[in-house]
């Protein structure tokens, strides 16, 4: 078998060797362990899991290490790995009502059954650099030690039943003040297995958004707040915690819990004046993201609501966040960064074609000018 070996291969090998060296950095500094990244860079790990669409904190941590902290590159590594995994089963829908919550807040009610649980949030930290962290010391804090909410299924693994934490939206629904979301057992489409087809249904949009780029979804959501497709959102509820993942085993005739995942769920309450067919009531926006990914979940719920204009009989105002095709075709950062960065690959054949064209057009323009003089 003849295998061509040429200079380009050596250049690539050298580049990879250099990259490995840069990744390691100064060998005098201890090397990062996967466990350290997983435990101490958890929010980066969460983002990589969410946008990589694969719940595996260790692999996400590995990807972050391998990618030198470039999170989009890490997402890419996870996505490429995910593609090769066989589909063994589809889980039952997770029950976020049975979530063992670490954090659960509502912006619409001062208090509510289940209570407001602040949880591990940056919200009220003062953004002052904590130099004790730099000195490898513990941060200065007056707080009482963390007592987790009863979290029987949580990471502590204490026994007992999970108390159900009712959804705020359920209270509004009881009074008919918010649109009823009917249960739907239609299997959702999967854009990782079927080509994206437009118009998309809500389930497909939500899938695209939950794995979409956090920055892109954030900016779109922000644009709706500033007036581009305004939907007046309140965070009805935001909850973060652990849910059980169950899979039906046909041979057994019942579902078996195969593990737990951390999720962030956000439901927004949005103003709606009513339409020809519907009386005025509140409407819903929904966000559900793997891991503790609060900014993403809130942003997702705003964009979800904005994309529902047609279904709710609202006007299309031309806002980007209302435009399903625009949002879905551009929210994936792996697609976006690939196409963006590919322009650094050789294009000299095309460029040569353009050069010839411009030279020809210039020559003709010059000839015409000279003829005119």
């Amino acid at each position: 078998m003849y295998v061509a070996v040429k200079g380009g291969e050596r250049a690539i090998d050298n580049a990879h060797a250099w990259l490995a060296e840069e990744r390691r950095g100064d060998p005098a500094v201890p090397e990062l362990g996967i466990a350290q990244i997983r435990e101490q860079m958890a929010l980066a790990v969460n983002r990589v899991m969410a946008e990589g669409s694969l719940y595996d904190p260790d692999l996400a941590a590995l990807a972050i290490k391998q990618a030198r902290g470039d999170l989009i590159e890490a997402v890419f590594l996870i996505r490429a790995y995910r593609t090769t995994l066989p589909r063994l089963a589809a889980s039952n829908p997770v029950d976020t009502g049975a979530m063992a919550v670490d954090r659960r807040i509502s912006a619409t009610f001062k208090d509510l059954p289940g209570g407001q649980v602040l949880g591990p949030t940056f919200d009220y930290t003062h953004r002052l650099l904590d130099f004790t962290l730099m000195a490898d010391g513990a941060p200065l804090t007056d707080a009482v030690p963390h007592t987790p909410v009863p979290s029987p299924r949580g990471r502590d693994g204490r026994g007992g039943e999970t108390p159900r934490v009712p959804h705020v939206m359920g209270f509004l629904n009881r009074d008919g003040l918010i649109e009823t979301a009917l249960p739907d057992d239609t299997p959702p489409p999967d854009l990782t297995r079927e080509p994206l087809e437009l118009p998309a249904d809500r389930a497909l949009r939500l899938q695209a958004l939950t794995r979409g780029d956090e920055g892109f979804v954030l900016s779109l959501a922000y644009s709706t707040q500033r007036g581009y497709g305004r939907t007046h959102a309140f965070v009805g509820e935001l909850r973060i915690g652990i849910v059980a993942v169950e899979v039906d085993i046909p041979e057994l005739g019942f579902a078996v819990e195969i593990g737990e995942i951390e999720l962030t769920e956000c439901e927004t309450v949005n103003q709606f004046r009513g339409s020809r067919t519907e009386p005025p009531q509140f409407t819903r926006g929904y966000g559900l993201v793997m891991g503790q990914s609060e900014r993403k979940a809130i942003a997702m719920s705003l964009v979800d609501r904005s994309l529902r204009w047609q279904e709710l009989g609202e006007d299309f105002t031309g806002a980007p966040a209302q435009d399903e095709e625009f949002v879905l075709m551009h929210c994936d950062n792996i697609q976006a960064t690939g196409f963006l960065e590919h322009i650094k690959l050789p294009h000299y054949v095309d460029f040569q074609a353009e050069l010839e064209l411009v030279r020809k057009l210039r020559a003709e323009a010059q000839a015409m000018q000279e003829a005119a003089e």
């Binding site: 003849y2 040429k6 380009g8 050298n14 297995r193 118009p199 095709e325 690959l345 050789p346």
Partner: protein, 312 residues
Amino acid sequence: MSDDTQSGAYTFAYLDEQTKRMIRRAILKALAIPGYQVPFASREMPMPYGWGTGGVQVTAACLTPEDRLKVIDQGADDTTNAVSIRRFFQRTAGVATTEATMDATIIQTRHRIPETPLTEGQILVYQVPIPEPLRFLEPRETETRKMHELEEYGLMHVKLYEDIARHGQIATSYAYPVKVEGHYVMDPSPIPKFDNPKLSGNPATQLFGAGREQRIYALPPWTDVVSLDFDDHPFETSKAPHDCDLCGAKDSYLDEVITDDEGGRMFVCSDTDFCAGRRAEGHEGRLGGDQKSSKTFANSFEGIWPATAGAR
């Protein structure tokens, strides 16, 4: 994790069987509807979108262990991305590779059609960035799909005619749109329009893969492909008005290489196999065949790398 330890972990040609079946079904429908873009559930490949993920998936679905694979980028076998894709298939499919167009059974290409005429039984796989020829006239997929359905290609003709009104000629020099068997308007991928005539009546099977955009399309052998034009402004090809400085070819597509900072330049065949073959036969261009090769130019950036890894 070294590259070699990974190879055993993946199936022949990387993709799992179900994915290959899905791609293979799309390829067959593409062959049955020449020029129509068949949607397919493109997978995330271990190389970025834009690097040829569509072409790689099509090649992976077509490869057999007996194939001899050639990979070119910009016409050259040794541009870095061509090297990288060839290596990918060497590693995951163990196929033989070649640089000789005439010896290859499958050729994956980015931006060129080889100068050497293709033959029956060969497959040419194009990497496609934007498969939709109407995309820059109408950004919405929902709209362009309708336009193809109704064969409503007036917008494209208006665009080309505006070029003529403004520039006296059609100002599209690559990815020049074509009409297939009198029906679908198709993007031939960003090949220079110099290559367009080779699309038509070609004995080889031509397959086009767009990974990010999730489309596969095809031209069966001997398919009639017409570059769009007007009676008073017929389609014409173009290339740099020079001969190859290495092999003297008068009719090959040329790369322009800047040789110094005082305006010096040379023109060399973009198809490195074609150029090397001619020089082996004794053809010689303005700058002769011995002191420089186009491959040296293709890799001239190599000099900036340290001789051995980590020698900084």
